[in-house]
Symmetry: C2
Subunit: 372 residues, 2 copies
């Protein structure tokens, strides 16, 4: 039995994705590479539900933050960073590193941002040119109500910039319909690929902002990337093996159907939360906004995450994550995005149940259905 790899990223690679990386090199400026890249861009747009541009770089989700900052804004520009966890906080730190004028809207970790709260923050900071939103906060297992939040930002007139690292290709994200201007993600989450690709989608208002942006830039410059993408190529050497992998993953996603992928993730999220509650454990996230790609579990006081994650790996070959920042040892997180099915979730919960018993943590006996 392979490891039940339930990190909230990197996520396991389906056999077809692994197999795709067995392909040898091809001329990266030749017809084969163009056809591959053109097809990838087309399908990536489709999954983002956008008529805008999709663009890819060697990189990670973190480079997506930098791509947003240096292409959509200018030094000193005021932006509102809406922060509900560690990744939102990091996005704000990138904005600060590039000397944007960062205004923060912080919410307690585990909570989402409400449209009213966002509206009030924008009234307080009417000059902000962009709002940086986390669609799904991987560190807390919370999904923000993005359609409503995007509408508030659009009404205000600022750009809607969305970190979709642990949402896109797993959770519904209708970029054009929701009025999102810029979406960034990394390949190692619901895309079911190895880390190493930064993926962005760019709408018309983001292109207007690009035209006004005064940052010096080269590698992440959206303009040459767009011109090259129109010719199905890239300004710099593309990471071919990762494109082979991404191509195979897109095939899998579209063969299943994007809506069905979203439904599967919704079912896996529900199943995980039900299982956690049956074990007598607390969800860390406000359940009204609990994520369908990652579930965070608040551990009883005195229980260290490391004890549990280590025992799950050692005794059951199940890999889950602890928390981040001040939550490091206080929560565990189960990833259920990308290449994941009910058996994976059930096996993970069964292992958790056993470990809780072994460690004497469980208050309620695990359900038979979870330990079978």
């Amino acid at each position: 039995m392979p490891t039940n790899f339930r990190l909230p990223g990197p996520t396991p690679l389906p056999p077809a994705v692994l197999a795709a990386m067995q392909r040898e090199m091809i001329p990266h400026r030749g017809a084969g590479a163009k056809e591959l890249f053109g097809s990838i861009l087309k399908r990536t747009k489709e999954i983002h539900r956008t008529d805008g541009e999709a663009l890819l770089w060697p990189g990670s989700g973190s480079s997506g933050w930098e791509i947003a900052v240096v292409n959509l804004l200018s030094p000193g520009d005021p932006v509102l960073c809406a922060i509900i966890g560690d990744f939102g906080d990091r996005f704000a730190r990138v904005a600060q590193a590039f000397r944007l004028d960062v205004r923060r809207l912080d919410r307690p970790w585990g909570e989402a941002i409400s449209p009213d709260q966002l509206g009030a923050a924008l009234e307080k900071h009417p000059d902000v040119k962009a709002v940086f939103l986390t669609h799904n906060e991987t560190s807390t297992g919370v999904t923000n109500p993005l359609p409503e939040l995007a509408a508030v930002v659009r009404d205000h007139g600022a750009l809607v910039v969305v970190d979709a690292v642990s949402s896109v290709a797993g959770l519904p994200l209708l970029m054009d319909e929701w009025g999102v201007d810029f979406v960034l993600s990394g390949s190692q989450k619901a895309w079911m690929c190895p880390p190493g690709l930064a993926i962005v989608a760019v709408g018309p208002r983001a292109w207007d902002a690009y035209a006004r942006s005064a940052f010096p830039r080269f590698f992440w410059d959206l303009g040459p990337a767009r011109e090259n993408a129109a010719q199905w190529t890239t300004p710099t050497t593309p990471p071919l093996s990762l494109l082979y992998a991404f191509d195979a993953a897109l095939d899998l996603i579209l063969a299943e159907g994007v809506e069905q992928v979203w439904r599967r993730h919704a079912e896996l999220g529900t199943r995980t939360r039900q299982g956690v509650k049956m074990l007598g454990l607390q969800l860390f996230a406000n359940e009204a906004f609990a994520s369908n790609t990652v579930t965070a579990i608040a551990l009883p006081a005195g229980t260290a995450a490391k004890q549990i994650t280590q025992a799950m790996k050692r005794d059951h070959d199940v890999v889950v994550a602890g928390g981040q920042a001040h939550l490091t040892d206080k929560i565990i997180r189960i990833g259920h995005m990308g290449w994941c099915d009910e058996a994976d979730v059930d096996g993970c919960l069964a292992a958790l149940a056993d470990v809780l018993v072994d460690l004497g943590v469980a208050s309620a006996a695990p359900q038979p259905s979870l330990t079978a």
Copy 2:
């Protein structure tokens, strides 16, 4: 028979490198990833012949240019770009994009830069803080006399910043002994890996320059990369599959022995040039500085590179490159770096000989030893 893939990058992947990418994901912050990354950094330093730091990012050779610029300099700083071909020119364009004060030393393409020429340029531009040198110019098949050039720059007091994209791991590069301060490369050349990794090596004077640099930066920031590397980890999610590949390639290089790898490349370079001359063709590069990783052939007037490269692919399944920029259709380039042996070179030359005859281009009959 697999394609004889003789581009000067990307280069073919050895079976062990392909196989390495079949490994599933591992926790990127776990002990296994640390051990992998620590071992990679140690061996990467060894191949650079440096006691400085080796650092890796998702990226390409082009990101290496950006890493150099935004970490070693400040906006407006004068730099000397020593340009002998298309890649040297691109490095200068990156410097310009970041608003450095770029002074150019241009040499005719096909020529190297001499220490005297570089010394004269530095006398003319005594204020430059760094000199950007191309070790091996992939677009022309020329290797600069780097030890001598580096010495001239050191005497002047400027930083020695070297694009080693198509040299390191193929040609001798003794970073510390030669006094080179910063070396950048990409994974898809003599490293025998897929494109997707940027590799840099950083010496003490480069760290001093880093401390003075005023560029805003995040993803390419050397400081956090160094701090993390000391703990065998990375500030952002590492591209695991490419690290697996790089790890396997390092094993191959060190099993063969770095000096033997250099010798093999020297022999392949000599063999290729001899073969080209036996076909009655002209080397594009001044032979005194001809590269041992890539050979450029000046085509007779009236012969289009595309005709030859297409016929070689179609009739012989041999892939070679045309030229770049104004040389696009005037030269062809044969890569003999990374995973390459005598049979690959001979097969490539034999295919070239046949195609020249078919197209009525050859002035001299090909040698039997090349067409056997």
